[in-house]
């Protein structure tokens, strides 16, 4: 990659960012139904990641008081994950879930076959709850 591109770090000039192979990274490792490894979770029970063409969507089921809570399906942004160990290239996703009372910004990646989701939760309802960060792990349930 030439340095005619604007940048704010050397990583912005990584030749892999314009490599056609990066644009077509295989998403297979991310797709499917994922179940929380923690049977006792009080947070996210299940995640479904789907792909239609170049578009990805993420469906989340939260643990509710009287049964599962289906979150609104979110369109996800595909991200090249170039820094995995052993130089492997992979896909990661970012997705935002908007509720009237809360916003959850997330990123999702697969590490050694485990789906990891990190949620950055911001409350909008002046309930006094702290905005917080949480991380959960999922195994594939095809």
């Amino acid at each position: 990659m030439t340095q005619s591109y604007e940048f704010r770090q050397s990583g912005h000039l990584n030749p892999a960012l314009t490599d056609p192979a990066t644009r077509t990274l295989n998403a297979e490792k991310l797709l499917g139904r994922w179940v929380n490894t923690n049977l006792e979770t009080q947070g996210v029970a299940e995640i479904i990641i789907e792909q239609e063409g170049e578009r990805f969507s993420v469906s989340v089921v939260g643990v509710g008081a009287d049964g599962p809570i289906q979150w609104p399906k979110s369109r996800a942004t595909a991200l090249a994950n170039l820094e995995e160990e052993a130089g492997q290239r992979a896909l990661a996703l970012s997705a935002t879930f908007d509720f009237d009372f809360m916003r959850a910004e997330t990123y999702l990646r697969v590490n050694k076959g485990v789906l990891v989701i990190v949620l950055f939760n911001t409350f909008r309802d002046h309930s006094g709850r702290s905005n917080y960060v949480n991380r959960e792990f999922f195994y594939r349930q095809d």
Binding site: S10, G11, Y132
Partner: protein
């Protein structure tokens, strides 16, 4: 109280409404990877109870100062007053970088989401790196 997961249904009392202690994040955080091509250093500063971040990234000819931005601080849970992470955004015009940090075992695990807005055809990408506090004790 509305919730989308049962862990968000919590009792809120006076202690819960106390301000977060942000001192755990203040300081000079160094990337654990000396060969990074991304962010080299995070400088977290506390002013009047608010936290701000200054990023120094690795460039071809030395460090690049991204300037200072306000950060949103995050606790460890909805009823927690213990700081556990932060988020912020840098908008460079040609690209946006979202930083999402999480404190784990004394490290900041920093997720960086880079989104290009120019015509360069660069793909959006994700990087996760580790930063340790330069505490100068040992």
């Amino acid at each position: 109280m509305k919730f989308a997961q049962i862990c968000d249904r919590v009792e809120i009392d006076g202690a819960t409404n106390a301000p977060l202690d942000i001192s755990a994040l203040s300081g000079n955080w160094l990337n654990s990877n000396p060969d990074t091509t991304g962010i080299a250093r995070l400088v977290m500063s506390e002013t009047n109870g608010k936290l701000s971040l200054q990023v120094y990234a690795v460039g071809p000819n030395g460090l690049i100062d991204w300037g200072t931005t306000a950060v949103n601080i995050l606790a460890a849970g909805p009823a927690s007053r213990v700081i556990a992470g932060f988020t912020c955004l840098y908008d460079f015009g040609f690209a946006e970088t979202v930083l999402q940090g999480m404190i784990l075992k004394g490290l900041i695990v920093l997720a960086q989401i880079h989104h290009f807005k120019d015509e360069s055809q660069r793909v959006d990408y994700f990087v996760r790196e580790y930063f340790s506090l330069a505490h100068g004790r040992y």
